[in-house]
Symmetry: C2
């Protein structure tokens, strides 16, 4: 949780205000608005960071560091692939972080990219454990599946949010809760039983593209 120092530098105040602004309004937020939030002149922002782009980069670093710290602190709780999201949604102090990540995802920025990479990495581990515990079915390509699961979960969340933007963009936990309230059931149902009654589609595809994806941990096709 890492509480901020009681008396932060002006520089840090500016940077933190920027993180919040960027999270709420996207990276188009003006330097002037950030300066106002930090109770400072626009010129001082440039004075400290050189340019808006460098400020952006420093915010990226900050958020990534924060995420890393949060992961380390909660490493035990992260028993499922949903862990991070729930964790973020639960603690309101992480709200700006998640908002920032979503903006960066929308933007194709480096924070979104590394965040996704981390989630995929984690998902690979979780599914591996799940398979060993007999809770998760093996896949023809574990990495591709982990990647797809992460991308679809975050992509669905993003789409849902841009389609139904919340009244108060600061209420990240409310956003995630709202999302889960409409999507959790169909998602779990899909993960539990799939949608197709036959293997026809899958087998046809495998016939059409016979290259076995170098992943070997597969169930026998007759299953």
């Amino acid at each position: 949780m890492r509480s901020a120092p009681a008396d932060p530098t002006t520089r840090e105040r500016i940077r933190d205000a920027a993180v919040v602004r960027f999270a709420r309004d996207g990276f188009g937020a003006s330097v002037r608005s950030i300066a106002t939030d930090a109770g400072v002149s626009p010129a001082l922002v440039i004075h400290h960071f050189g340019s808006k782009d460098e400020l952006h980069a420093e915010c990226d670093e900050r958020v990534l560091a924060e995420i890393r710290a949060a992961k380390n602190e909660t490493i035990d709780e992260l028993a499922s692939g949903q862990g991070i999201l729930h964790r973020f949604a639960a603690a309101d102090e992480y709200a700006p972080m998640l908002g920032y990540v979503l903006r960066s995802l929308q933007d194709g920025g480096p924070v979104g990219r590394t965040f996704i990479e981390q989630m995929i990495e984690d998902a690979v581990g979780y599914t591996k454990h799940g398979i060993e515990a007999g809770l998760i079915k093996p896949s023809l390509d574990e990495t591709a599946r982990a990647r797809y699961l992460v991308l679809s979960a975050l992509g669905t969340l993003m789409l849902e949010l841009t389609l139904n933007p919340p009244k108060d963009p600061r209420d990240i936990s409310g956003m995630v809760r709202g999302f889960l309230s409409t999507s959790y059931l169909p998602m779990i149902e899909l993960y539990t039983q799939g949608v197709f009654t036959t293997r026809r589609m899958l087998d046809e595809y495998l016939l059409y593209v016979p290259d076995p994806p170098q992943d070997a941990a597969t169930e026998p096709p007759s299953a």
Copy 2:
């Protein structure tokens, strides 16, 4: 397919140029760039449309009309939920359309919204037929599932595209092909067998939220 008139009005030329620009560069594209594309002065754009917003609105209408037309023409081919996407991806002339839709999705604009609504509507129909034909398993909430499947498919596509933006943004079919090449297998696999080996997660959720979503077409929970 609806070929454009051989000698389009200047007004139409401007509007079509705007659709292409918006699709390629997003709705932040400048009036000046659109005017240049149409071989016309920026003032004329305003002269014909009143403002950039009204031009935007008229482009929205145009694209929606085009989509409606395309759907009517290919109504027979649309045998699966993937139909529209494949259809769009196949014909290069639809490329600006799909690009425009994706931009509008990213933007939360009305085109994206109605496009999604239409896809959900279609998906409900397809799954209904699939269930009757014994190809698709019934869901506890058909509407919610159709919505989730559409949102996750498009959301994953969007996320993939912003994360790995194609070199040439005009090659929409290449984009979709690239997306399918990494996501099709895990998706079909998920749709075929799910990921969980047990119904535990689903049953726990149903116990926790016992309200039966007014949809009755469900398989017996003992299945």
